[in-house]
Symmetry: C2
Subunit: 305 residues, 2 copies
């Protein structure tokens, strides 16, 4: 990419990273010459040309923040995006959240049928690890990235969060507010936080982070992951489906735990501001290379869709 | 294990490997201390204490055949078994094959519900790569095994075979017999053959195979994978559900392509004998360490359930 990364602003940087991610993932899918056309198409439908590419953005900017390159962060970000995409396809299934609309378009199973949506999600889950194992050098780094991504994706990470969120909503409703807040934070840390944090960590590791840098990036990743979820919960209350490109007000309708339902809107916004204070402090320690990472966190906290 | 592997017979060897695999996988699941209880239980239900453990058997005996150890083959076999188990859970879902019975017990979604069955399958898919990345040394070997397993599992392997098998049965029925046979072999090579072959390959690689040895193991793996599927198709016609521990006669009922439906029973059995001839020849080239691998192929060809 020919951008001057030390001067560019966040929207321009994210747009460029989103385009590069799209190109990278599109080429990767094309390289799967033995894949049946139907499933390649179903994967491409959900994987390409849509989504804000927050996770690749975080991976690339984390690589830059520790002195690495855009390209180093891009491989890590692409793998995380494949996992994110697999989880969206499966979450939307009738047996899960039963959603018809995603990113302003019909969900994968609405277009390709349930069987294909299950298989396309499965394939993207598997291929994220294939991509890392075949595209990252040296092998020791590839192995570390596979470990990071598998841990963040599995039952101790994202999938575990889905279990807690999807499979026992009734139990959660019966809790006291204090117990619920603790449970809510635990669910979020797993369900969305783990993958957002690992995008930052993997980008930094691919970019050659020192232990000290990685520890700072890890704190950034936790805070920005929490911020992301609080904003998502707030927008579910305050936005319309048209603005969001997906169904809104669903969380409240299903009695799911959310920050606004537990704390109210104002306290949720304060909680959000605290996370941004953490990312500000951490990025300052990381130095001037982390300027975009700091700005991204603030932009995410202010997003309106 | 204290068996004398140079003298033991195949049933004894397989029983010992199955027990070791169970112990290994059980310990691995227990090590996931951050996993919610419900999903650990759902994974354990399908992963432990059931199944013939053909793939771990092939991995361990392939390791022995190239001069490696039982332990080296076991890690590879455990990872392949997790992928096999994930695929069974998802294949049984209502949107896929809609099966109520598996290995003589209710299928995963019948016990834990569809949402949990989807998530448990997803988790096992992810964790197979986590296991390899965290348990195999050196890192370069771990990376190679992740690449092998991801390729064999993904849309160019098992999942691709599922797509061809599940998503277009009507199209297949309209084919001529010659085109159908070619398509059938292609589906089998992907759907069951890829994972069986990769169990052999990964076991051999983990056991330190030379290029020549790996090429022979690869030929063995292809032939034994084909043999396995032909026997499966034959048993679907000739066995009862009670013998098999799962629904039988379903393939014919759904008009799916099978060897007996295309070639008849007798020609199917001849085709099976040809595969055993290949495994005999290849294991002879591998030498005395491959005795059990040769016997396993013959035993698989003769199985009655």
């Amino acid at each position: 990419m020919t951008l001057n990364w030390s001067q560019v602003d966040v929207p321009t940087a994210l747009t460029a990273i989103a385009q590069e991610t799209d190109t990278y993932l599109g080429r990767y899918l094309q390289s799967l010459t033995g894949s049946p056309q139907q499933i390649t198409e179903a994967m491409a439908y959900s994987l390409l040309g849509a989504g804000k590419r927050i996770r690749p953005g975080l991976a690339v900017l984390s690589s830059l923040a520790v002195g690495g390159t855009v390209e180093q962060g891009l491989v890590a970000g692409a793998a995380v995006e494949m996992i994110h995409c697999f989880s969206l396809i499966h979450d939307d299934l009738p047996a899960m959240d039963d959603d018809d609309l995603r990113r302003g378009r019909p969900t994968n199973h609405k277009v390709y049928g349930e069987a294909m949506a299950i298989l396309a999600g499965d394939a993207l889950n598997t291929l994220a690890f294939h991509l890392l194992a075949t595209r990252v050098q040296p092998a020791a780094l590839a192995g570390k990235l596979v470990t990071e991504l598998a841990f963040a994706t599995g039952p101790e990470g994202m999938i575990g969060g889905q279990v807690l969120d999807t499979c026992h909503p009734e139990e959660a409703k019966a809790d006291t507010t204090a117990a619920s807040l603790s449970k809510l934070q635990h669910i979020h840390r797993l369900k969305t936080g783990a993958l957002i944090n690992v995008a930052c960590r993997m980008g930094a590791m691919a970019g050659g982070a020192t232990e000290t840098q990685l520890a700072l990036i890890d704190r950034y990743g936790h805070a920005v992951g929490l911020a992301f979820q609080i904003v998502d919960d707030i927008l579910d209350v305050t936005s319309t489906a048209e603005q969001m490109g997906k169904a809104t007000g669903k969380d409240a309708g299903k009695g799911k735990l959310t920050y606004p339902s537990l704390l109210g809107l104002e306290a949720s916004r304060e909680h959000l501001a605290k996370q941004v204070a953490v990312t500000d402090a951490v990025t300052q320690e990381l130095g001037t290379n982390a300027r975009l990472l700091a700005e991204l966190s603030r932009a995410m906290a202010q997003r309106t869709k």
